[in-house]
């Protein structure tokens, strides 16, 4: 919601940027030393924790060579997408920009970013997790490089496990076990729940995630093919609706509203015993000041024979179309995605990075629960899939979401709803 809100506020900025773009910035490329190239680098990392880290990385790069000076500019989250487009339109973009991993191909197609394939050698792609590298390709060419990523894990409260007579070292492995454990972990007083064992739609893993997990990792749209109305997805959606039925519409709605503001987290508050969220959710537990006794595991699989599929996202480094120094920009991107910089980012920020080797050596440097969670998320990245926005169906979510809502509200059965969703998505093909 915050992101959306800031996009809203930033539209004014977009238009003012378009106007400001006319004035031009002749100084670019000639800043400071007349021989040195100045690269404009835009990120949305402006917080007290992240800003010093990225600026140290930039600083290190500036000191490591004498041809290029990188100037970091913080552009608020939400503003950065529209500002970037406005700057491209005005012909005065940044040279490197941090942007969403899921729509790289859209910007490539719309001629808003630069084809970097000629600057990257064949080995370059090997440093990344393959599913991340795939997202930056458009017609086989790289239009950016992955920087960081995330993955969803199952967090569980060990104290609650012990209370319920469950083995705290044996997290649920399948959906069936998940249900069984959840029932044991529920604490009900009269008609109200004091603790909820598990509710699949709380945390960072939505209905699309569960449906994909059931359907052997197959997303709603694979390439050009729709896979919305499939037996496994129908089953998963029914399963989700059954959870809501079991806890009761009232319970779920009132808990939804109570935790909607994001101030308190139900898992950290020990109101929910099992909870799916990203690996970096660990920092929220760590910073809560509570000594929560918890464990972390991959998301349970649909059956014994399927894998522990998980969802991920992330950010990429791109060179906007119209940058005057694409080569220097590509060199800077190579530096930012190399082991040293990536490891620094991973350890200092407690964030999952795109560089495999850096992720592994970052885990080796950690200890305690931090290490446990980080290592689990590294392993999890092998079964983690992204959901890049398909080129032919950019607005597909708006057609699927209401159908999922209808099932969750008990207004439709899942086969009927998914059939309609697939029909609706088909209609908006571009």
């Amino acid at each position: 919601m915050k992101r959306k809100l800031s996009i809203f506020l930033s539209v004014l900025m977009l238009f003012s940027m378009l106007l400001a773009g006319c004035s031009g910035d002749k100084a670019s490329g000639a800043g400071g030393d007349s021989k040195k190239v100045t690269l404009k680098f835009w990120t949305f990392w402006g917080s007290e924790t992240r800003r010093p880290i990225i600026e140290k990385m930039v600083d290190d790069y500036n000191k490591s060579q004498d041809k290029v000076v990188v100037k970091h500019t913080f552009v608020p989250w939400g503003d950065i997408w529209t500002k970037n487009l406005a700057a491209v339109a005005a012909g005065n973009p940044a040279d490197v920009v941090v942007t969403d991993i899921n729509d790289v191909s859209h910007r490539a197609k719309n001629n808003q970013s630069t084809d970097l394939s000629k600057y990257f050698d064949d080995n370059f792609k090997n440093r990344f997790y393959p599913q991340l590298w795939d997202t930056v390709l458009y017609k086989g060419k790289a239009y950016g490089a992955p920087f960081n990523t995330d993955t969803r894990l199952l967090y569980y409260n060990k104290k609650a496990f012990k209370e319920a007579g469950l083995d705290p070292n044996k997290p649920p492995q399948t959906w069936a076990e998940l249900e069984e454990y959840a029932k044991k972990l529920d604490v009900k007083k009269g008609s109200t729940y004091e603790r909820i064992g598990f509710y699949p739609l709380w945390g960072g893993y939505g209905a699309p995630g569960w449906m994909r997990n059931a359907d052997n990792g197959k997303g709603f749209i694979e390439g050009d093919k729709l896979a919305i109305d499939t037996p496994a997805k129908e089953d998963a959606l029914t399963w989700l609706a059954d959870w809501k039925k079991r806890y009761g519409k009232k319970t779920i709605e009132s808990w939804d509203a109570d935790f909607a503001n994001g101030q308190t987290n139900p898992f950290v508050a020990e109101k929910v015993a099992m909870y799916v969220d990203t690996g970096t959710f660990y920092t929220q537990i760590r910073d809560s000041g509570k000594n929560l006794d918890f464990g972390v595991a991959p998301i349970p699989s649909y059956t014994d024979h399927t894998r522990h599929w998980s969802d991920g996202g992330g950010f990429v480094l791109e060179v906007p179309k119209g940058s005057k120094h694409p080569k220097e920009a590509a060199d800077f991107i190579k530096y930012l995605t190399d082991v040293k910089a990536q490891k620094y980012w991973a350890v200092k920020n407690y964030d999952n990075v795109a560089n495999k080797q850096a992720a592994e050596s970052a885990a080796a440097e950690m200890s305690g629960m931090a290490k446990d969670v980080y290592q689990t998320s590294n392993e999890n990245l092998k079964d983690t899939q992204l959901a890049p926005v398909p080129l032919n169906y950019p607005d597909y979510k708006s057609r699927i979401d209401p159908q999922i809502d209808a099932v969750m509200l008990g207004k439709k059965k899942s086969p009927e709803a998914l059939k309609k969703a697939e029909e609706d998505v088909k209609k908006i093909k571009k």
Binding site: F8, V88, K250, S254, N261, K321, S398, D401, D405, D424
Partner: protein, 342 residues
């Protein structure tokens, strides 16, 4: 409104004089008297100079209008016939965007329906609410100024803060609204989480901030001449008769103004849904997907500016038609004290 007509009068005045002058000059040309011809020329250049100074004075507004309003307006009309995406492409696609809107985009109809629902309920309710509160606050009792301030306060608070406040008030489990309802044995709905209650929730929220309209009515109520009430008293009219036969007719111009502006405003409902629905996507089962929100999503989520511009123009036409209907039927029930019904 008043400003508008004043401006019109001003423009008419200038035009009238302009034609007068040229009429004179034509007549004088016929007489072919060189002296007067010279005079006319002088007069002409003087008028021209005066006009120029006039335009000079209004130039800030003119520049604003042409560059910041008319320019983008024309641009968006052109864009609505293309596949413009802000940066790279702008191919003309004819009426494709409009065709798609009416034939292929279900969400267009959903959003139009949601918006009309909102307009149909919120406009009459807020208007009636504002009149009601204004009449109450027009009585002469001690401490009235305090009450007036209290009722006006919500109109002072800025949008987003109010929406967050209401999200808490409307929370199904712990919100104040449902708590109060439970005192009366009513099991409150889930408001923003139940698709059939999301729009009523927003309308109730709108009712809370009738203070702005209330102020207008209060001002016009104070302008109703006391003598009319005195005359009615002599005739033995009761309170209701006085309200329906004196007060209401006397404030119809303000009601008319309020209905037109709030209808336009209600059609543009956007922020409420954007802020109060999870992820700004239009709430559960698209029940809060208003016209402008759908347009926004097309413009700034999918970056389909052409389609979004086409939607904007359709909304413009809808509002224009409704306003024209309002203006036409307004003559039947709006009473202007001036007598010339203008």
């Amino acid at each position: 409104m008043q400003q508008q007509s004043a401006r019109e009068r001003l423009l008419h005045g200038i035009n009238d004089r302009g034609t007068n002058v040229s009429g004179n000059s034509a007549a004088m040309n016929n007489q072919a008297v060189s002296k007067t011809h010279m005079k006319t020329k002088k007069a002409k250049s003087k008028t021209f100079k005066e006009n120029l100074i006039g335009y000079g004075f209004i130039s800030p507004w003119l520049i604003g209008f042409f560059f910041l309003t008319a320019g983008p307006l024309v641009f968006s009309l052109i864009v609505s016939f293309s596949d413009y995406n802000i940066t790279s492409k702008m191919h003309f696609t004819g009426l494709d965007n409009y065709k798609r809107m009416f034939t292929a985009d279900d969400l267009f109809w959903t959003s139009l329906w949601n918006t009309i629902y909102f307009v149909v309920f919120s406009v009459p309710l807020t208007t009636a609410g504002a009149i009601f509160v204004a009449v109450l606050l027009n009585t002469k009792i001690k401490g009235m100024k305090i009450f007036r301030t209290i009722y006006y306060l919500p109109a002072v608070l800025s949008g987003v803060a109010v929406y967050f406040l209401w999200m808490q008030l409307l929370s199904p489990g712990t919100g104040l609204v449902n708590l109060v309802l439970s005192w009366f044995g009513v099991d409150g709905p889930a408001w923003l989480f139940d698709p059939s209650w999301t729009k009523p929730a927003l309308i109730i929220m709108k009712l809370w901030s009738v203070g702005g309209g209330m102020l207008l009515y209060l001002a016009s109520l104070q302008g109703v001449p006391e003598s009319l009430y005195e005359a009615a008293d002599l005739d033995g009219a009761n309170m209701f008769q006085k309200f329906f036969h004196i007060t209401l007719p006397m404030i119809t111009p303000i009601i008319f103004f309020d209905i037109i502006t709030s209808t336009i405003g209600a059609f543009q409902v956007f922020q409420e849904a954007y802020v109060m629905s999870k992820d700004g996507d239009g709430g559960p089962a698209h029940s809060l997907l208003f016209y402008n929100l759908h347009m926004w999503n097309n413009a700034f989520e999918v970056f389909d500016m052409g389609y979004a511009s086409a939607m904007a123009w359709i909304l413009f036409i809808i509002i224009m038609i409704l306003t024209l209907i309002n203006l036409k039927f307004g003559k039947r029930w709006v009473h202007y004290e001036g007598g010339d019904n203008k």
